[in-house]
């Protein structure tokens, strides 16, 4: 396939995606890493935990929807992670274990992904740290076209008491598993995705193994 054919194919795909109707949508397939639990369990106690085993939502998206975050640059509120690199967040490695997650310091911290251009987003998937059954506190996910997030839309908020300061959220906290958390996003258009957390039920630190942003 030469360059001209590639461009033509991409253009047609984009046009088709833009004019997609409900009939054109297909179920988004998200790949989960193998499950792995290690260490001494720590009881996860939060007042608004969703029942364990809650299935991930089915995401319908136009054919050609893909993970736009792959390999994109990541910034953070914490310039000096305890361990790991911010690059891990979008490097495609979702395995649990040493060398696959970045650990940010305690209190409210965020990571931000620059998709490099505005995209129509259908889902965001996040794996904080899934080798222990723990729940992260005050998980808030925002999207924006403004790098500084002066203006934004919240697509997930499990902060039940507004301790993070973005308002009380309606979403339940959840136990981390190899399936992470798949967050439906209703075709919002944005270039930046920012994810907050405020420690977890096992310790005060914040972790990210992988974030995927599905869109076109």
């Amino acid at each position: 396939m030469n360059n001209k054919q590639l461009i033509t194919f991409a253009t047609i795909s984009a046009l088709l995606a833009n004019f997609a109707t409900a009939e054109d949508l297909v179920e988004l397939s998200i790949e989960f890493p193998p499950p792995m639990i290690t260490g001494t369990p720590v009881p996860a106690v939060l007042p608004h935990l969703e029942p364990p085993g809650t299935p991930a939502p089915t995401i319908m998206a136009p054919a050609g929807t893909k993970n736009l975050a792959a390999g994109k640059s990541v910034t953070s509120s914490d310039d000096f992670p305890i361990i790991g690199d911010l690059e891990y967040v979008t490097d495609g490695d979702k395995d649990a274990g040493e060398g696959y997650f970045v650990e940010l310091f305690e209190d409210i911290q965020w990571v931000q992904i620059d998709l490099e251009k505005e995209a129509e987003i259908y889902a965001i998937a996040v794996w904080h740290f899934h080798s222990q059954k723990r729940a992260y506190k005050d998980v808030v996910v925002k999207v924006s076209n403004d790098e500084s997030f002066e203006d934004y839309k919240i697509v997930f908020n499990s902060d039940h008491d507004n301790s993070a300061g973005f308002g009380k959220g309606d979403n339940s906290a959840y136990i981390e598993t190899n399936e992470g958390k798949v967050i439906p996003v209703n075709k919002l258009k944005a270039r930046y995705v920012r994810l907050y957390s405020n420690g977890n039920t096992s310790n005060e630190m914040n972790h990210y193994t992988e974030v995927e942003v599905y869109g076109i």
């Binding site: 792995m36 290690t38 992670p81 361990i83 395995d95 274990g97 040493e98 060398g99």
Partner: protein, 449 residues
């Protein structure tokens, strides 16, 4: 967030400027602004942490909350672990530690250490503990004490010879919930009556027993791995499956519960029979499932204790120890939601123990007799009670606090090496019983140092 507001150097600048030599190890870290050295506390205890793996990090979280500690050094053969200890302690406690790969090197250079926390893989517990004791340090060493009973015995001997303190990390011995159940319910109230049996387990699902992965980019050079007893990186990360490196799941997990059998029965077992095998995980050397029966002498006759460690199912609710008597039973777990005290239906009421706050009433067990009674001779459902004690700290913190209190002469160790050895000698015999396929009678020599 005030601390973090001080962190205003870009990552690029940080990487350029912050490669430092510390304790002979080249380490990338944050600048002094982040890691401002706190003034060493006068009369504080100078601590080294040896082994910054998963358990070492759990202990660090408790250690950082304990007053009066100066963190002086961390030691681990894996660079990411060293970096973790350095960065975590630096940011959490504002104390700058030196980092080492080798314990001997650390002991040679750090001349003002008072205590060592040993959380290395089991094969290194005895060498590291003995080295530190001989260097004049008091030691807190994780359980199991060692890979073999002889190595564990050597640790007791060294502690006795040096006169230094050696606390073994059976942390339930300092848990106020466990202490309350032992002192108030078993010893004082004898709430369960004559203890006739015990039942304990630590069962984990296949996912919970999976191989521990690692990013190959972080591999340790082969010569370093070999120097420290590991054939390769897989073995280093998964040492629990190998006979030369550990005692297997019955040692790794069984140590938690079988120690409580010995503690609550206040006795050594007289015999052990066991069955087990490496049946599920083809590549693992150690038995992946073991079932054990101990016999314990009690004042009114023998009591039997069953224990199982299964690494292919979490059936039965995870991990607990249950002591059963003719008046009731006491089910203990580090997880409060798995704990319950049950009164036998025909036993005298427990109002006095409720009034004395030894137990508190919980919702009665309301199982439908209509649906569950299949035999007219079936006993009525037991009435459940709860422990009134809450542990509002990380589970290992009281045990560490006890260790440092003992160092200051303010307390006695809750699990000194000799008492831990008596428990662990019984655990080491399980693998022998599995291998020999027979009941093994204990002798005094088994528990002698």
């Amino acid at each position: 967030m005030k601390d973090l507001e001080n962190v205003n150097v870009s990552r690029r600048d940080f990487v350029k400027s912050s490669m430092v030599m510390s304790g002979g190890i080249l380490l990338s870290t944050a600048p002094g602004k982040v890691f401002a050295q706190a003034n060493p506390k006068n009369n504080a205890i100078n601590v080294a942490i040896i082994g910054i793996g998963a358990q070492g990090r759990v202990l660090m979280e408790s250690l950082a909350e304990i007053e009066g500690l100066n963190f002086k050094a961390v030691c681990d053969i894996w660079e990411p672990a060293r970096k973790y200890g350095y960065n975590w302690l630096g940011r959490k406690t504002r104390q700058k530690v030196n980092v080492y790969e080798d314990v001997e090197d650390m002991l040679e250079k750090e001349k003002d250490l008072d205590a060592a926390i040993v959380a290395t893989p089991d094969l290194w517990h005895a060498p590291h503990t003995n080295m530190c004791l001989k260097a004049g340090l008091d030691v807190y060493c994780e359980k199991m004490m060692a890979r073999t009973v002889d190595e564990a015995r050597s640790m007791v001997k060294t502690a006795q010879e040096t006169g230094k303190l050696l606390q073994i990390g059976h942390q339930r011995r300092s848990n106020p919930r466990y202490i309350h159940a032992f002192e108030k319910l078993i010893n004082e109230a004898k709430i369960a009556g004559r203890l006739t049996n015990a039942n304990g387990q630590w069962n984990r699902s296949v996912a919970g027993s999976a191989d521990i992965p690692y990013n190959p980019k972080l591999s340790i050079p082969k010569e370093t791995l070999n120097k420290y007893g590991y054939a390769d990186m897989y073995q280093f990360r998964n040492w629990r499956w190998f006979k030369e490196l550990s005692g297997g799941p019955i040692s790794d997990l069984g140590a938690h519960q079988i120690d409580i059998f010995n503690w609550y029965f206040q006795a050594r077992p007289t015999s052990v029979m066991a069955s087990g095998g490496a049946d599920y995980f083809a590549k693992r050397e150690w038995y992946d499932n073991v079932m054990v029966i101990y016999e314990y002498p009690q004042p009114e006759g023998a009591a039997r204790a069953f224990y199982q460690v299964l690494t292919t199912t979490s059936a039965g609710g995870g991990y607990y120890e249950q002591f059963m008597g003719d008046q009731g039973s006491i089910k203990m777990s580090e997880n409060p939601s798995l704990s319950k005290i049950y009164r036998e239906d025909a036993s005298p009421d427990w109002d006095q123990w409720v009034n004395m706050n030894y137990v508190k009433r919980s919702e009665a067990y309301n199982a439908s007799k209509e649906s569950t009674t299949v035999d007219s001779r079936e006993t009525a459902p037991l009435v459940g009670y709860d422990l009134p004690i809450v542990l509002n700290k990380p589970p290992h913190m009281p045990h560490l606090e006890n260790f440092f209190s003992a160092m200051r002469g303010e307390a006695k160790l809750n699990c000194d090496a000799l008492h831990a050895f008596e428990s662990e000698a019984a655990i080491f015999k399980v693998n022998d019983a599995v291998e020999q396929k027979r009941t093994i009678e204990f002798t005094d020599a088994d528990f002698a140092v």
